[in-house]
Amino acid sequence: MTVSAQVPAPSQPVAAASPRPRWSEMSGLARREAIEGYLFLLPNIVAFFVFLAGPMLAAVYFAFTNYDLTWPPRFTFLENFQVMFTNDLFWQVFGQTFYWAFGMVPATIVLALGLALMINREMRGVLTYRLVYFIPHVTLSVAASIVWLWVYHPDVGFLNLLLGYVGIDGPQWLLNRRTAMPSLILMGWWKSVGFAMLIFLAGLQGIPAELYEAAVMDGANPRQRFWSITVPMLSPAIFFVMVTSIIGAFQGFDVFYLMTRGGPANVTTTMVLHIYNNGFLYLKMGFASAMAMVLFATIMIFTLGQWVYARNWVHGFAD
């Protein structure tokens, strides 16, 4: 969930005393405490090695092999990457993943920020609004996809019915090469705006009122207050949403699998769906793993890039 690795400084006496005793210098009681400390971590430690570290290493290994599940993996060095980088479909899919991620994330953030600012007003009904805008986020993606399949249905769909009223002959939405991805992105805004909004709302509540009071005294107008108080104070929340949303968007799968199966003509195939198809439909596990490596590298570059750049704009960004 969180990508931040900063741990809030322990403020309580309990954790403040963080001794680093050597094993030989420890008393019997302290040793007992240490042993129990490790024991309580045991399920997590075991799972870390079995379900995370092990598979991670295996993923790297598979990427350099030819593996179809029936025969043991055969080491083929860089062949998978060679095939991948000379394959037009791969580059198309790679580009479409960016199209999806950058179609989704910035717009969602702007929309969510606007919503949060409106809902943060002191007025009636804000709790209801908060709930309403958040509901799509907690809905089963399958149910949401089914409803939206219908919204986008060319003949009986809700959207084209509405357009019909104003005399527009609506497009084929998900069945058309040009409109398929934008349609999914539009639905993506609907599904994810509530989550970002909730985080921004929490951030807005945390801005001390005195800052605004002081700004008003100094004669700052609302726009100045927004750019010089709200945005900087909210920047950690914006940063958090940006990083997690980009990571999530690069790994999008459900809507593509459920609504278009990557079509028409592969224009809505993104990386994870492509990995799924190659690995589990064509049983090209090695090739799919190589693709997963590329996805991993892409996500890492973006995350680290945002991290480095964060110094320039995120308020109080230390570390």
Binding site: A5, F40, A58, V138, V142, F253
Partner: protein, 300 residues
């Protein structure tokens, strides 16, 4: 710290600042009106699809295709819901999803609270370093583990079993983080008394720490349950037998069964049924859900 039970009440008193009351309050009223208009219009977009789903689930197939469409069904067709239960194994899928989600949730609560207790209140060499490293694992995108995890499940002979859905899911770095943040703020005195009475650490964890950690347990339970309940990719890869399908898979299968003349009224009834449990859970635990988001997003 994670413990503060701040709810998101709009409490900012910006308007009261430094200007004369009369003109300000009428300006605020106009502003409120505009805000309401925009937010209400947006709300229609947000809940519109659901309203449409609900309304269609009560229509006849004939009425579905009627033009112009009706929002309120001409006659309420409860029978659609009966047909759904008869024609599909929806009840079974719900049961399967319930079993898997509850198992994972219980497991995560147990392992995360134990680890959180250890990281927050016990002292041992390397504690904070291990914690930081463990937090770092949250940055690993799950998609890259897909293939090796599948191969691992295959070597365990866990394909098409619930072990594959449950066992790898019962630990959570995020859950551990959440628990640790909360438990760090529990006063020492609380456990000291029990400790003097000769209670073991496991006993203190169970009788002292867990009872006061109820809010964070609720938060973690809701997040975990909803996450597993909604999961699609992993079950799709693991499960083969239709009678073991989880709800999202079963619903997807039901929807894809009709290539031509789609019985939208039945599909909408099935979708409505699948959305309801999670919606009730969210509404009941909204406070804890929001708390989880606040802890992660702002204090992480």
């Amino acid at each position: 710290m994670a413990v503060k039970q701040e709810t998101l009440q709009p409490a900012r008193k910006l308007e009261a600042v430094g200007q004369d009351g009369m003109s300000k309050s009428s300006a605020k009223r106009v502003g409120d009106l505009f805000t309401h208009l925009i937010l209400a219009a947006g709300s229609i977009v947000m809940v519109g699809p659901f309203a449409w789903m609900l309304s269609s689930s009560f229509k006849t197939q004939y009425e579905i295709y009627k033009f112009p469409p009706t929002l309120i069904p001409e006659s309420i067709q409860w029978i659609n819901y009966l047909v759904v239960f008869e024609q599909t194994a929806l009840g079974r899928y719900v049961g399967n999803s319930m079993f898997v989600s509850l198992s994972v949730t219980l497991g995560v609560l147990l392992t995360s609270s134990l680890a959180g207790y250890s990281f927050s209140r016990l002292h041992f060499p390397g504690r904070d370093k291990i914690f930081l490293m463990y937090l770092g694992t949250m940055m690993i995108p799950g998609a890259i583990l897909l293939i090796p995890s599948f191969v691992l499940m295959r070597t365990f002979n866990w394909i098409d079993t619930y072990y594959a859905l449950i066992v790898p899911g019962v630990v959570s770095a995020w859950g551990t983080f959440l628990m640790r943040q909360f438990m760090m703020s529990i006063p020492r005195e609380l456990e000291d008394a029990a400790y003097i009475d000769g209670a073991t650490r496991l006993r203190i964890y169970w009788t002292v720490i867990l009872p006061v950690s109820k809010p964070v347990i609720a938060t973690l339970a809701i997040f975990t349950f909803m996450g597993v309940w909604n999961e699609l990719l992993w079950p799709v890869i693991i499960l083969r037998s239709p009678e073991k399908f989880t709800l999202p898979m079963g619903l997807a299968k039901f929807q894809s069964r009709f290539p031509n003349r789609t019985p939208w009224h039945l599909i909408m009834a099935a979708s409505t049924l699948s959305v309801l449990p999670i919606l009730f859970l969210f509404m009941a635990g909204q406070k804890y859900y929001v708390q989880g988001i606040v802890t992660t997003g702002l204090k992480g």
